[in-house]
Every structure is written in C-alpha cells, then in structure tokens.
Subunit: 224 residues, 2 copies
Amino acid sequence: MRDVFQQELHEVQERLVEIAELVAASMKNATTAFGDVNVELAEQVIEEDARIDELALSLDELAIQILARQQPVARDLRIVVSALRMSASLERMGDMAEHIAQLARYRFPERVVAKGLRGTFRKMGELDVEIVGKLVELLRTQNLTFAEEIRDIDDKIDELHVSVFDKVLSEKWSGSIGDTVDATLASRYHERFADHAVSIARKVKYLSTGEWAPDISATKKSAE
Amino acid sequence: MRDVFQQELHEVQERLVEIAELVAASMKNATTAFGDVNVELAEQVIEEDARIDELALSLDELAIQILARQQPVARDLRIVVSALRMSASLERMGDMAEHIAQLARYRFPERVVAKGLRGTFRKMGELDVEIVGKLVELLRTQNLTFAEEIRDIDDKIDELHVSVFDKVLSEKWSGSIGDTVDATLASRYHERFADHAVSIARKVKYLSTGEWAPDISATKKSAE
C-alpha cells in the first residue's frame, strides 16, 4: 500500500512538472507574441491553454482519487492537498499567459506596447519566463535553492510593475488611452503570473521544511 | 463517527457562511469608500482583510484535519475538498474588495472615478454587493436558485466591465491617464470578484447535482 502511495505521489509530481512545462512554453510564446506582433503565436497560446486547463483538472481528479484510496494522513495528506492548490495556481498562470496573448491578438496588426515601455515589458516577459523555468526545476528537483531564486525574480518583477505605473503617469508618457489600458492590464498579468509562482514555491518549501509562511504577502502587493 | 463527521461538515459550512458574510461587509464598505471618497472606510476594509485571510486559513486547517480524522470518500470527500477551494475563492474575493479600497485610499482626497464612469462603477459596486449577498444565501441554504441568480448578476457585471473599456476608449472620455489606469484596475477587480462568486456557486451546484461544469469559462472571460 505504502509503495503504491509513493508511486502515486511520484505521478502527481510528474504531472505538476508537465503542467509547469506547458505553462513555461505558453509564457515564452505569449511574451514573444506580445513583443513581436505575432498573431499566429498569440492564437497558439490561446488555443493551447485549454490543454493546460485539462491537465490541471485531470491532476485534481487524480489527487482526489489518491485521497479516497490511500487515505493519507499527516505530511502525506498535506502533500496531496498542496498538489491540488499548486494545480490551481499553475492553471491561473496559464490564464495569465493567455491574457497576454489575447492583448497581442486584440491589438494586431498594431503593437500592444507603446514606445517608452517596450524595454520594461521585454524585461518583465523575460523574468516571467525565467521564473517559470525555475518553477519547473523546483518541482522536478525539490531543491529549495530554486524557491529562493523565484522569490528574488519576483522582487524584480514587482519593481518593474511599479515602474510601469510611474512611466504611464509621468509627463513624458505619450501613449494613447488604449496604450494606457493595455499597459495597465499587461503589467498586472505579468505580475500576477510571478505571484502564483511564488505561491507554489512557498508550498514546496513548506512541505519540505514544515515552516509555513501564509500565502498572504503575495496577494497583498498585487494591489498597486 | 458518522455523526461526528456530519457535525464537522456542518461546522465547515457555517465557517464558509461566516467568511462570505465578512467578504460581503467588506465589499459593501469598499464600494462606499470608492464612490464617496471615504478614506476611513477604505482603511477599515484594508485592515479587516487580515481577518478574512485568517479565517480562510483556519478553515483550511479544519478541512485538512477532517480529511485526516474522518478519511471521507466519495461525495463526502468532494465536499471537504470543495470547501478548501471555496475558502481560497472567498479569500480572493476579500482581496478584490481590499484592492478597490486601496484605490480609494491612494487617490484620497480626490475621487477615484472620473466623471462619465461614476454611474457605471456605482452599478458595478451594487451588483458585486448583490452577488456576494446571494452567495451568502446559497452557502447558508444550499438552495440552487441562488446559483442561477449569481450567474445572471455576473452576466450584468461582465457587460458593465466591457462598457468601461468602451467608454474609456471613446472620444468623449476626458479622464486623465491616472483616471484611465484606475478605471482599468477597478473594473477588473469588480469583475474578478464576481467571477469568484460564480466559481463557488458552480461548486455548490456540482456537490448538489453531480453535474460538473469545469471552472473554465469564468477564467476565460476575464481577459477583456
């Protein structure tokens, strides 16, 4: 029974990695579509999000079956419950990538990002791709160094998020109203994407060390 | 054992209702603070969100303990797992109310909402207060009529959300860049608040009827 359970946990872990890899590919394509005015790539991201949703649902089903069949307690139980939550966060990360792609598609053939913000969004996109890459590694290896790196990358993304508003509200901003709306939404999507990565990293860390930091700071700062 | 389990499920339900009531009060105050330039009320909402977070965490703890002690299967198991998810959604609804209050506080002593959008945001706020009121009733009574009403109110909120962008992007819009940023964020917070209510209503319905509609449409449409 114990062996079956370990096997099932391993399967859960593999599926989390698989979903995270799809989210990583999705964010990479979304940022390219967003920066390079590539509507085909944007449509691909939008289409492929359904696959992420499907895999997340199916992982939830597996986790519920494990709870029913194995009746885990203590740390084992927390691992399975955490998997349910991580799957929800990964699903939302996929949605954020999709939203970024939708902005690109909506604006096509124009660029989404107005002059003056292109460098900022390019950097934000790169950092989001980097953070989900670290997340894949964290889920695969359970090496907590990646959790620290995720925290650090998130700090940089938060700084860029604040800087987007500083730029948009400065006298130098020459973007249209549409540019302002898009920049506001895009910045929030990029920032929320990273928040979810931090939230998952926190859960992995908790399962490994037992030190629980409630998932609150990540949601608080998303208010700017 | 069965009786204890039923009692514990009852406790879970009561706690969900309690949190939903706090979220309802929070949204009511947030919309007032937002519409009436009331910074004290805004600060109260921001402060009291910590209480919602705390209660959600403590409900999660209870749900995990029930899983460990009672080892529920089949529908009982799904009820407890759903409670974990509903608690996460309620916690996010509290965050959205807090974000709206933060916009009000940040802009004080000015109004957040520029002329031309006041009626729209007043209506959105009223509908968000209404939707969370229906949610409290749904959680309390498990009467699925409330789930239908929640769905209908959400449709109206989505229409208003789209209309905010139509107005902001129209030639008549005379708001500043700051007004545009605030309207974009506020509209999204109002709309996400309602999405979470729909997501919870869908789970209640599923537990009652066994008909599962994956929680996907609610996240899809949040991309406008």
